[in-house]
Symmetry: C2
């Protein structure tokens, strides 16, 4: 089997190319493990990303390795699968070929079946200039950048003797109260109130302000009402300043401009801003739409037939966050199930069964954790909150990580973070400090003419 | 106590400023915990770095958080100590003041006693142009960069159908056979032979070549002879190509030029090169030498009086890798003991005891681990090798990390790496891929006109 995969012999079987190794692509690849096919999975990263826990990397609980197992390690024993590092830049539906770039060199991959699981990136709703000031929460790079900014802000606060200039370093604004925004705001609040206790000499870290901005009228919008209420209450108990009906109209180095209830303009002075508001599907969606009879929705998602294929290209599947079907939400569970559906359809066709079977999503529920021992979960009609929901959250996420063999060390990190007080992953890199130094020097002329007082003046 | 430290009251006690939170600075700070002083420790990083394990971060065994605890977390309960983030750029011995920069803003710190523990960086022996092609092993940034390059090289090899062009991706050259170079070469060999087994489809990762170049006539030069022999044998058993009497005369993107036995020129084609050869003391040494009656040695280290002070400035201590005293080696143990010596001298002076006590180094031995279950150790006259030495190595390092509360998760990572087959920290960031893409595109014209074959041509 390995010989057939090593690229030196002509293709023996049906070639399945999978674009993206997120939940959709990886579950599709695994569901093809016993199929008589040759699977090639292309991703621009070397790792699968367990995105639901990305906010814990940003806030110092987990290491990047805890949630980002190498794709090829996950598929190590699956001999009909190979993994290639590269960014897919084009799909030629007529020629049945995918083009991808690695270190500036282009390669081409022919396919018999194609599963496009390229996912979605952050959307700034047309304000891409916000990105430099408010990173998103989509990649390991984002999480490490945020980690550096969050812990770096506390470092800067320790250096700042003037309270009026210190406060913006101790103000953290999260834009968007979906699951990522809610969990992130909760974690930053816990970090400041518990983990960082006694770490600073010139201020009390519990003074830090965490503001959660949401344009809609509720947090965790797609969840059932009792859960939303509980999450909202838990956030406020943690001291998070939750502001609904609040739009962000501007973001710069020093803070954010807001508009509340469509008429009250406001300003929050804050050095650390995090964007968890919108998603935009991969640009590959537009490439597919140009060549087929499908359409894109406002978020750039590809409308697919009931079996997740392109209307006029039954050999091309679109799954996960890039797929638009029955207004299904962009959650991991939909991605996994649609990926598996695509894999099963390909397998069935190879046995001569060409019948169309529509994709049916089985909603297994939704959960979010606000802080240690606090979570909300909704499983079918069952509502769970508090420590029970939190233990369920822990169990489900551990079970998932187990699949990727990361259980032992993630457990250890969680043990330290949840039972103890510490967080082990608080590294700021020199590169991050350098980047922010350059940014600060560039904007220094724009800053008030009043330079920071030397430390000697404090004494 | 905290109030006196918060910068809003005049200084109450004797002000000790410590530059650098490596082994020397951190042990000095801790040794002052009961002294009637105000300690300020300034470091350009937010973390102490457990440098002896840096090579394990580079090779995917440990996360950066495992070996880089935040300085302020280590000193959390020491209320007479504060920690400031900044790069010290000047010391004014006459004014007794230290200047440091943070995000482009300068601050000044007056002192009554100063402990300079700024350490040493990589030295390329006048060939700084080597740095871009062969990163050193001194900081977390270095280790993460190397991690990306090592795992990235295997990714590139998987994409390369031409064996002649694949081999340079599978060749790893470590320059310098001191402890870091020896341990790194051993780890890369283990990585390729064990961890990455079955990860690739177009080659066997065990084919990877690891070359260890050393200009001198032995590995682990300062260690006793039986240990050197054992280390050499262990490396060769692991399949490391150890080349002694070999100088590096050039390094570029594609490989290294070497000179063996002073007359045979050679060339090794390798994309991944690591520099573990020379150290150069911090530039603060030169700043001190300009203002006092001390001299610098060839490596830029500051000659100190027997009690670790500057000859004409008894209030200024130089400790650790920046210190030149009795030709002591630049190892963690010397840094710790000299840092503690400086702290005790300051404490004794404050009680009115002005007697000079020279620093006496107690050699507690030396150890290095080549691979899982293989190490060499020398404790006094006792020689230990093999699994016994390895267990000692594990115990000593765990005991050290324990002091920084990182035992649980580091143990878990080690359990996975040593008892199992896996390594959990294999993340390549998009930023790293992007940087190498730009580098590759920049040098593409310089490369052979023969572009890499598209993958389609393999089938």
């Amino acid at each position: 089997m390995t010989a057939a995969m090593n690229g030196h012999r002509p293709a023996a079987g049906h070639r399945v190319v999978i674009i993206g190794a997120g939940f959709g692509g990886l579950f599709a690849a695994r569901a093809l493990r016993r199929a008589p096919v040759e699977v090639t999975i292309v991703d621009r990263a070397n790792h699968h990303l367990f995105q639901p826990l990305l906010y814990q990397v940003a806030t110092g609980v987990l290491s990047e390795g805890d949630i980002a197992p190498p794709i090829r390690e996950v598929l190590r024993r699956q001999h009909n699968a190979r993994v290639l590092l590269g960014e897919v830049v084009d799909v030629d539906l007529a020629a049945r070929e995918v083009a991808f770039d690695t270190l500036g060199t282009r390669s081409h991959l022919p396919y018999d079946s194609l599963i496009v699981a390229a996912g979605a990136g952050q959307s700034y709703f047309g304000h891409d200039e916000f990105a430099a000031h408010a990173p998103g929460m989509k990649t390991i790079d984002d999480a490490l950048e945020l980690r550096g900014r969050i812990f770096g802000a506390f470092e800067m606060a320790e250096l700042e003797p003037d309270p009026g200039r210190r406060d913006p370093w101790l103000t953290f604004v999260v834009v968007g109260a979906g699951p990522t925004g809610v969990e992130l705001a909760g974690q930053i609040a816990e970090l400041s109130r518990r983990t960082l206790k006694d770490n600073y000499r010139s201020f009390d870290s519990a003074q830090a302000r965490v503001v959660l901005l949401e344009a809609a009228d509720k947090v965790l919008a797609p969840s059932p009402e009792p859960l939303r209420r509980r999450a909202h209450r838990d956030l406020e108990r943690l001291g998070v300043d939750v502001r609904l009906h609040t739009m962000v109209t501007g973001i710069d180095a020093g803070g954010l401009d807001t508009l509340q209830d469509n008429h009250t303009a406001g300003r929050i002075q804050a050095h650390t801003k995090i964007w968890a508001a919108g998603v935009q599907a991969s640009p590959l969606g537009a490439i597919l739409a140009q060549q087929s009879a499908t359409t894109l929705d406002r978020a750039g998602r590809v409308s697919v037939a009931p079996d997740c294929t392109l209307p006029d290209h039954p050999e091309v599947f679109v799954v996960g966050d890039l797929m638009q079907l029955d207004h299904l939400p962009g959650v991991a569970e939909v991605a996994m199930q649609s990926g598996v559906h695509a894999a099963r359809t390909i397998t069935r066709r190879l046995t001569g069964d060409a019948s169309e079977r529509p994709f049916r999503y089985h909603d297994l529920g939704t959960m979010a954790t606000i802080a240690r021992f606090r979570a909300v979960a909704y499983i079918g009609r069952l509502r769970v909150t508090g420590i029970t929901a939190w233990l369920m959250w822990l169990f489900v996420h551990l079970a998932f990580l187990t699949g990727f063999k990361n259980r032992v060390a993630a457990s250890a990190n969680w043990l330290v973070a949840f039972l103890g007080r510490g967080r082990r992953q608080r590294t700021i890199t020199q590169q991050q400090i350098l980047a922010h130094t350059h940014a600060a020097q560039g904007s220094q002329e724009a800053l008030a003419a009043d330079p920071r007082q030397p430390i000697t003046s404090r004494r």
